[in-house]
Subunit: 364 residues, 2 copies
């Protein structure tokens, strides 16, 4: 690890995320003053590198802001954090609501902290787009975990497109890594497109399922099981242990039918109970095996480079489309041309060509 480690003797400073003022109002004032005086990215970067969770939180808020001044500051912070990022293990965790994701993350995260890990929990939540809320926004969730010194929990950025949420989460990841968090958990619900986005920002992808019933019956979209590096049957406690074991064997067999992964890793299925902590250790062992294998066969690094390339291309595509569809000349013509295409008066390709010509002329 290249970054400075957190000063463990001052847990008070980095203890709270939700309400730092309640824990240390004096500190907050000092920080605010300092920020006013400095007003530059260096202040945030220093705080982040010192593992200060309050400053980390503030910096993430700047990243999530849509104000141009904040956007400029965010860019500067990310740039300065980049050299200290990229050193963590990034884990994607997906599963439908009800599968016990937060209880699992609480149990799993606690286990990681016991192993000496520093854990950041982020979320990509498509529903936050609609509700304006967040799956991690509920204060009662992961309360025990969130208050551990070596844990940082951040809700999903709300009120944005899924692509926007994913992008901000990926940038937040950089800041968390620069703050010394060496294990990043990115949580998402396994019902839409968000898993594909999360899959393209993590090293290892974990799918949580319930005992009994196929993934499709549990509301998991096709293609998601294929992305999983580990299928984990949660709630394997009490009466459900037997059923959970049977389900995990079914998945173990089914996973073998998929074509081999580029990583050379054979996905498997395990059972666990976030309630009794049974099987939690084994999950981390599996991930350790995966990391060892993929670091040895270079897949780990190659995959991260592929992911960086993917995000570069996606951001270019997004940028081009935004420029196009927000262009006033295009917007005016689009309605008419779309109508002509829908009425078969114009082929889609000719419609596109006309619009692209208008776009080009309007910006020259």
């Amino acid at each position: 690890m290249k970054k400075k480690s957190t000063d463990q003797t001052t847990p008070k400073v980095i203890a709270g995320v939700k309400s730092p003022t309640a824990l240390n109002p004096h500190l907050k004032n000092i920080l605010a003053q300092k920020r006013k005086q400095q007003g530059d990215a260096a202040h945030y970067v220093q705080g982040i590198q010192e593992g200060n969770k309050v400053i980390l939180s503030q910096a993430i808020t700047i990243i999530e802001s849509t104000r141009p001044a904040d956007q400029k500051m965010a860019k500067s912070i990310i740039e300065k954090c980049l050299p200290f990022a990229n050193q963590s293990i990034r884990l994607g965790i997906t599963g439908t609501p009800g599968v016990g994701k937060s209880t699992f993350i609480e149990a799993f995260g606690s286990h990681l902290v016991e192993q000496g890990k520093k854990v950041a929990v982020l979320a990509v939540d498509p529903s936050s787009k609609i509700s304006g809320g967040s799956i991690l926004g509920d204060k009662t969730r992961m309360e025990k975990l969130a208050h551990l010194a070596n844990v940082f929990v951040r809700p999903s950025p709300a009120k944005s497109s899924l692509g926007g949420v994913a992008r901000k989460t990926r940038e937040t990841m950089i800041l968390c890594e620069a703050a010394g968090f060496d294990t990043i958990l990115v949580e998402t619900v396994g019902v839409g497109q968000s898993e594909t986005l999360v899959h393209s920002m993590v090293d290892f992808f974990l799918l949580l399922l319930l005992p009994g019933g196929g993934d499709e019956l549990q509301g998991i979209k096709r293609g998601i099981v294929e992305m999983a590096d580990l299928v984990l049957i949660n709630k394997a406690d009490g009466d459900r242990v037997k059923l959970a074991k049977r389900t995990s064997i079914d998945y173990k067999n089914a996973l073998h039918l998929f074509p081999p992964k580029t990583s050379n890793w054979t996905a498997t299925a395990l059972i666990c109970s976030a309630l009794t902590n049974d099987g939690i250790e084994e999950v981390w062992e599996q991930i350790g095996k995966y990391i060892k294998l993929t670091k040895e066969n270079q897949y780990f690094e190659n995959n991260r480079q592929q992911q960086a390339k993917y995000w570069l291309e996606a951001a270019i595509s997004q940028g081009l489309q935004t420029a196009f569809y927000q262009n006033e000349v295009v917007q005016k013509a689009l309605i008419k041309i779309e109508q002509a295409v829908l009425k078969n008066e114009l082929s889609p390709f000719q419609g596109a060509e006309q619009l692209l010509k208008l776009f080009k002329t309007s910006i020259i």
Copy 2:
């Protein structure tokens, strides 16, 4: 049908596709002269509307050409054909090599012709990109079918990107419809991305499978079964009838587990033998039921409009990306910026922003 019907008294004129000169060299000369004299799209459009397969073939060649003069002519031809297009039933047919696709299309196409249909067979073949060849290029394939007066067989456009092939096939479809072909079969192999593209240009999607073995064992990618409106177990003859029946029952059950389609159609599974013609009639009956249902519930028309919108947006996106990646300033900077992103010196989003700025400055 709005277009003129083909003159059935002159089958010689429209009999050959592969080598029209061999059939009527005199005619070809007349056509060539006429083209020289006229040199405009009206000549092609008239020939197409008269159902002249030779002229139709020539017009498609113009569409497939990359020469700017041809591209201009192609645009004009398509525009003039559009009012006469859109009146057909468009069927997508997919299945891995070995499933008997061409034999099926031969049997099925012949049955359609017996029902008084005019059938055009097109192909979207991703492999033609690599080989420069074409799945329909083999002269021995569908020979019987191709020589029927009311049938037009056209190989996949070769040597282009998959998107390019799909686009040209969609444009070719317009010309075929204007030529009075009322049933368009678009063939593709069920192994890659091409089915998604074909799925977005047809009304009904048919998946051919072999008796025995799941779709994944047969090399069909996940997600394709879900797109199918009908799963057809081919080669249900001789010893294989029993196995084919069992396979079709398995699929019938499995298809019920998928979420209901927007079309309200319940996909089912049937068996057939392109060799003995058993079950071929039933396939057409199923398609008839589908058309009736979706025309009544408006899905048919809505879906076509959605597809037109999809192709408009895809063409816009493609056009933007082409302009971007072919820009010399971008090309020069891209290598450096990509390297910086891969080395974690620059975040993908900042890299994209820099490139987009360069692109904008270079075209203003």
